[in-house]
Amino acid sequence: MSQAGKRSRYVLKRLLHAIPVVLAIIVVNFFLLQLAEGDAVDVLAGEAGSATPEYMAQLREKFGLDQPLPVQLGVYMKNMLSFDLGYSFRHDMPVSQLVLDRLVPTLLLMVSTITLAVGFGIILGLVAASNLNTWKDNVISIFALISYATPLFWVGLMMIVVFSLKLRWFPTSGMENVAMFYEGWDRVKDIAHHLVMPTLTLSLFYLALYTRFMRASMLEQASMDYVTTARAKGLTERRIVFVHILRNALLPVVTMAGVQVGSLIGGSVIVESVFAWPGLGMLAFEALFSRDLNLLLGIFLLSALLVVAINLVVDLLYSFLDPRIEVG
């Protein structure tokens, strides 16, 4: 079977594997949310000012909240199969549209964070490992630990105060300049300008993980036999580190990137709230506190698919990097 054929079979198999996990997520969260006190109608009534019980009963009936749970779940599943994620009670809009609007900002934040965190993590880990126990190694390790240990929101707020208020380098928050409404290329530059601080804040946290992980991976590979062989071949240290050790050391780091994705979407709640970044994290947070059940399930579904997709990409990338891995 051709390599591409094998690959597509592998992708299919992986997707089939993912289905039970995703379905399980939906069912578990569906019932878990029922445990939360109060429902969307309470929230809407509270917000609307004063609403008569009859009006609230009407609303519950309209949202189908008065149906027995299994029926509600059944309806949700049936719609989900036809890609209809149901209706957001609070925003009075189809969930799929709401979630897709927020998907782009989340992807922007996630991709830039992963690139920055993994990229610099590898570089710093490399530098630390090749200058073991020198001051460089210690400084990098301590810096990595401090950026991991400092509460995210504190870093975020300090950045706003320093970089946007005092130095006026970056806008304080939001994804776009809402006064100018740039178009085309200007808009891309404007978004990038807004993206800098949230990405820095979030990637500082993950940078630490990748730096330490890369350093450990480099040290482990450096003790392998093939490194002694390379040295016996008279190669320079630089070549040994950058050609031989680096490529082998990257493999576990790539896998770790895959595993991190799930927590990355969640972890960004604080950064999204501090920088008013319209991501899925914040949407999920608000959906939870307005008991917007359909919306929350829609977000869990989308993030589950996102995690599965990214893990798949990571695994395929891994099979490119490591010839020993047979795909399919």
Binding site: A36, E37, A149, F153, W154, V269, A284
Partner: protein, 276 residues
């Protein structure tokens, strides 16, 4: 004791241990240092550090930030420890079964772990606290629920590796029960990675607690570093000290725990790696 000597060779681990010891000491003697209830309104509100007899200043209601940090240390460490213990025991149990028995048991348990890792972990923690209503127990449970999958994966890997070891096969031959093999033969041999990961998880637990508090989901009746950060956050620009000092305390403690964790890792692992 060669373990202790090897641990001390790692200078930063020793520094970490000292910091951690100080924090634990303060936590233990909080009621001696600050006999008053940390919630009590004891003086001029919003006074900067050093003034009006406040070492680290006072918050908007005139409560002593230093007292809050001392009493809060105990709570934050407790939250970290209990949550980690719960997560580790759950993770070890599931990881051991998955790794040891393999087959469909492994598949099912790994699907469950995968599920938990696919759900955005922080949001899931918020979900649990919201459902169980913000209290110290709900925070602990939330942290444990989102942290056990990492331990499960680790322990599964260790059991998979150990399962075919010859000394385990010897036990099979003499008819030792599976449960006994898992507990007495395999588990003792993968304690070191568990302890190291556990130590790092205490640090993450404290961070999650402060994150939850930041979003207003902390326990309203119990002082903890997270509580102080939540309380000080809205006045960050005018009274920076209210949440900065607890933030520093969190950073130092998490830093210390990580350094000790790395020290443990170096001290424990070479001995094992040399032999097997």
């Amino acid at each position: 004791m060669s373990f202790w000597r090897r641990f001390c060779r790692n200078r930063s681990a020793v520094v970490g241990l000292i910091i951690l010891a100080i924090v634990v000491l303060i936590a233990a003697s909080a009621h001696l240092l600050f006999p008053e209830d940390p919630f009590k309104l004891v003086g001029q509100s919003m006074s900067p550090p050093g003034e009006n007899g406040f070492l680290f200043g006072s918050d908007t209601l005139g409560r002593d930030v230093a007292a809050g940090m001392a009493h809060g240390a105990r709570v934050s460490l407790l939250i970290g420890l209990i949550a980690t213990t719960v997560a580790v025991s759950l993770g070890v149990l599931l990881g051991a079964f998955a790794g040891y028995f393999g087959g469909w048991v492994d598949d099912v348990l790994m699907r469950v772990t995968e599920m938990f890792q696919t759900i955005p972990s922080f949001i899931f923690a918020i979900l649990i606290v919201a459902i169980m209503k913000p209290s110290i127990n709900s925070v602990i449970i939330a942290i444990a629920v989102v942290s056990w999958p990492a331990v499960a994966r680790l322990v599964r890997g260790e059991f998979l590796a150990m399962r075919n070891r010859e000394f385990v096969q010897a036990c099979h031959i003499i008819g030792m029960s599976d449960w006994r093999i898992m507990v007495r033969e395999i588990l003792p041999n993968c304690l070191s990675p568990i302890i190291v990961t556990g130590s790092l998880m205490v640090a993450t637990a404290i961070l999650i607690e402060s994150g939850l508090a930041f979003l207003g989901l902390g326990d309203p009746n119990i002082i903890s570093w997270g509580f102080q950060i939540g309380a000080g956050r809205t006045v960050l620009r005018s009274a920076w000290w209210v949440c900065t000092f607890p933030g520093i305390a969190i950073m130092l403690t998490v830093l210390a725990i990580n350094l000790v964790g790395e020290g443990l890792n170096d001290a424990m692992n070479p001995r094992l790696r040399e032999r097997t």
